[in-house]
C-alpha cells in the first residue's frame, strides 16, 4: 500500500514549499477561471478570452522589463486590453472577432518587442520568455500569495456582485436590455473579471496556455449540465482537480526516466483538460448550451 502511494506521489511532495504555493495559486486560479469561464463560453467570448491572454503576454513581458513581477503586467495590461476590447465593442459577431484579432495582433507585436528587450537587456531574469509564456507556478515567491489571493477575491467579487444581470445579459441581451440591465457596464465589468482571471491562470500555466484553464473546464461542465449554477460549480471542481493533478504529475515527472528533466506543469494541465473535453464530447455528443458564434 505504501509503495503504491509512493508510486503516485513522489516523495517530498507535500513537504515541498514550492509545491504548497503552487497548490494554492493553482487552485485559486482554477476556481476563478471556472467561474468566469462558464460565462465566457455562454457569451461566446472564447476568442476574446484568448486574445486577452496575448495582451497578458505583452503585459507580463513588459513588467519584467521594469523589474516587476509578471503578475502585475498581466493584470495591468490585461485590464487595459479588456477595456479597449469592450469599448471598440462592435455588435456584429464577425466584426467583433476581427477587432479582437487586431488587438491580439498588436499586443503580440508588443510582446515580441518586450521579450526581445528582456533578453537583450541585462538585469532581467533568464528564461523570462518561458516563464511568461508557459507559466512559472513552481517559481513564484510565497510572498506573492496574498496578492494573488487578493486578485482572486476581486474577480470572484465582481462576478458575485453582478451575477443575475450578467447571467441574463449572457443568455439574451435583448431581454436584459428590456429589463433595464446596463449592457455596456455589465460587459465591461465582466471583461475586467476576465482580465484578472486570465492574469491568474497566466501565472499558473503561462499566458499562452491559460485559455485552456479558462475555456476547458467550463466547456466540459456545460456539456454535462445546462443549469448555470451547477455548471459553475462543476467547472470549478474540474479545474481545481486538473490543476492539482498537473502539479502532482509535474512533480513526479522529475523522477521519471534517466534524464530527470521533468515535464512542465502547464503541459499536464492542458493535456488533461483536452482529454476530458474529448471524453465529454464522446459521452455527450450534443452540446447543451446556446449554440452559434
Amino acid at each position: 500500500m505504501d509503495r503504491f502511494f509512493t508510486w503516485i506521489v513522489a516523495p517530498g511532495f507535500f513537504g515541498s514549499q514550492p509545491v504548497q504555493v503552487a497548490i494554492v495559486i493553482g487552485g485559486l486560479a482554477a476556481m476563478v477561471s471556472g467561474v468566469v469561464g462558464v460565462f465566457t463560453v455562454i457569451r461566446g467570448q472564447s476568442f476574446g478570452g484568448h486574445a486577452l491572454t496575448d495582451v497578458a503576454t505583452a503585459g507580463g513581458s513588459g513588467a519584467v522589463l521594469f523589474g516587476l513581477s509578471p503578475l502585475f503586467g498581466f493584470v495591468g495590461l490585461g485590464v487595459v486590453g479588456a477595456g479597449v476590447m469592450e469599448m471598440i465593442g462592435v455588435r456584429r459577431l464577425r466584426g467583433r472577432d476581427l477587432a479582437t484579432g487586431v488587438v491580439l495582433g498588436a499586443s503580440t507585436g508588443l510582446a515580441a518587442l518586450f521579450l526581445y528587450l528582456d533578453a537583450t537587456t541585462s538585469g532581467t531574469t533568464a528564461g523570462a520568455t518561458q516563464q511568461i509564456l508557459f507559466g512559472s507556478i513552481f517559481t513564484v515567491d510565497s510572498s506573492m500569495l496574498p496578492i494573488v489571493i487578493g486578485f482572486g477575491a476581486v474577480a470572484m467579487g465582481i462576478v458575485a456582485a453582478v451575477y443575475r444581470p450578467l447571467l441574463l445579459s449572457s443568455v439574451s441581451d435583448d431581454i436584459a436590455a428590456a429589463r433595464g440591465v446596463p449592457l455596456r457596464g455589465i460587459g465591461l465589468l465582466f471583461m475586467l473579471a476576465l482580465a484578472v482571471s486570465v492574469a491568474l491562470s497566466a501565472l499558473t500555466i503561462g499566458a499562452i496556455l491559460s485559455t485552456a484553464l479558462l475555456v476547458g473546464p467550463a466547456a466540459i461542465a456545460l456539456r454535462l449540465t445546462s443549469r448555470p449554477g451547477v455548471a459553475i460549480a462543476l467547472a470549478c471542481v474540474i479545474g481545481v482537480a486538473v490543476t492539482w493533478a498537473g502539479v502532482l504529475l509535474a512533480y513526479d515527472s522529475y523522477t521519471w526516466g534517466s534524464s530527470r528533466q521533468g515535464f512542465p506543469v502547464s503541459f499536464f494541465i492542458v493535456a488533461l483538460v483536452f482529454l476530458l473535453y474529448v471524453a465529454s464530447a464522446v459521452v455527450r455528443p450534443r452540446a447543451l448550451h446556446r449554440g452559434g458564434g
Binding site: R94, G101, V102, G105, G109, L110, L113, F134, A219, A271
Partner: protein, 287 residues
C-alpha cells in the same frame, strides 16, 4: 547623408535579398488567403491553425526532419481537425482547446532541446532575417500552390461564403468548401510561420484585408488591395527592423493594427457621408 546611403546599400544586399523576397511572398499569400479569412469571419481558426503548425515545427525540430514538412503536416491536420470538430459542438471552444494543446505540445517538445528559448521565440515571433536561399525555394513553391488553389476555388468559395444556402442548392457543398478553405489556410500558414512566426502570420491575414474592404466595394479589387497593403506593411517592418534591431513582429503587429484602424475610420466617414447624402436626396424629393 553618407550614412543613410551606406545603410540603404546594406539593407538591400546579401542575405537581406532573401529576406525581402520571402517577405514579399508571405505578404502576397497573406493578402490572398486573408481576403477569404475576413470574408468568412474565420479570424479564430486563422489564429488556431498557425499554432498547430507551431507544434509540428517543434516536433520536426526534435526529430531532426525538415521543419517545413512538420509545419505543413501539422497545419493541415489542424485545419481538418478544426473543420470537422466545428460540425459538432461549438466551434470556438473546440478550436480554442485544440489550439492550446498544440501550443503545449510544441512547448514540451522544444523544452527537450537545448536551444529552447531562441527557438521558441523565432517560431512564435518569426525570424525573417535568417532565411537562406535553400529555404527560399520551398516557400516560393508552396506560395504558387496556394495562389493556384485560391484561384481555382475563387467563385464557389465566394458564393458559399456569402450565400451558403444558395450555394448548396447549386451543388456547392458548404462543408466541403469550409474544409478546402481551412486546408488552404493551413498550407499558407506552413510556409509563412518560419518567416513571421505563428503568432504574427495571423495579423497579416486579418489587418490588410479588413482595411482593404473599407476602401473598395468590389471583391476582386479588395483582394488586390489586401495584397498591396500587406506588402507595404511587411516591407516597412523589415526596413524598420533592420534599422532599429527591434523584432520584425513588433512592427508587423502594430502597423497592421494601424491599417485596420485607418480602415475603420474611413468606413465610418463614408457611412456618415452616405447618410447625409441620402437625407439630402430624400429631402429634395417630394414624398
Amino acid at each position: 547623408m553618407l550614412s543613410i546611403v551606406v545603410v540603404g546599400d546594406a539593407m538591400f544586399s546579401g542575405f537581406m535579398v532573401n529576406a525581402w523576397t520571402v517577405a514579399t511572398v508571405v505578404a502576397v499569400i497573406a493578402g490572398v488567403v486573408g481576403f477569404f479569412v475576413v470574408l468568412r469571419g474565420a479570424a479564430f481558426p486563422a489564429h488556431a491553425i498557425p499554432n498547430g503548425a507551431f507544434a509540428g515545427a517543434a516536433a520536426a525540430n526534435l526529430l531532426g526532419i525538415n521543419v517545413l514538412i512538420g509545419l505543413g503536416a501539422c497545419a493541415v491536420l489542424a485545419a481538418i481537425g478544426i473543420g470537422t470538430l466545428g460540425r459538432r459542438g461549438r466551434l470556438d471552444v473546440a478550436t480554442a482547446l485544440a489550439l492550446v494543446l498544440m501550443l503545449a505540445v510544441g512547448a514540451l517538445l522544444l523544452s527537450r532541446s537545448s536551444a529552447y528559448e531562441p527557438q521558441i521565440y523565432s517560431l512564435l515571433f518569426g525570424e525573417i532575417l535568417g532565411v537562406s536561399t535553400t529555404e527560399l525555394l520551398p516557400v516560393v513553391a508552396l506560395a504558387v500552390v496556394c495562389i493556384a488553389a485560391v484561384a481555382v476555388l475563387y467563385r464557389p468559395l465566394l458564393l458559399s461564403s456569402i450565400l451558403p444556402e444558395v450555394g448548396e442548392a447549386r451543388g456547392v457543398h458548404a462543408h466541403r468548401m469550409e474544409i478546402a478553405f481551412l486546408v488552404v489556410v493551413g498550407v499558407a500558414t506552413a510556409m509563412t510561420v518560419p518567416v513571421v512566426g505563428a503568432l504574427l502570420i495571423f495579423t497579416l491575414m486579418i489587418g490588410p484585408p479588413a482595411a482593404a474592404r473599407s476602401f473598395t466595394d468590389r471583391p476582386l479589387a479588395a483582394m488586390l488591395l489586401s495584397i498591396a497593403i500587406a506588402l507595404v506593411i511587411v516591407w516597412s517592418a523589415i526596413a524598420l527592423s533592420y534599422l532599429s534591431d527591434w523584432p520584425i513582429g513588433f512592427f508587423v503587429g502594430t502597423i497592421s493594427a494601424a491599417a485596420y484602424g485607418a480602415g475603420r475610420v474611413s468606413s465610418a466617414w463614408r457611412r456618415s457621408r452616405r447618410a447625409r447624402t441620402t437625407a439630402t436626396a430624400a429631402a429634395a424629393v417630394a414624398p
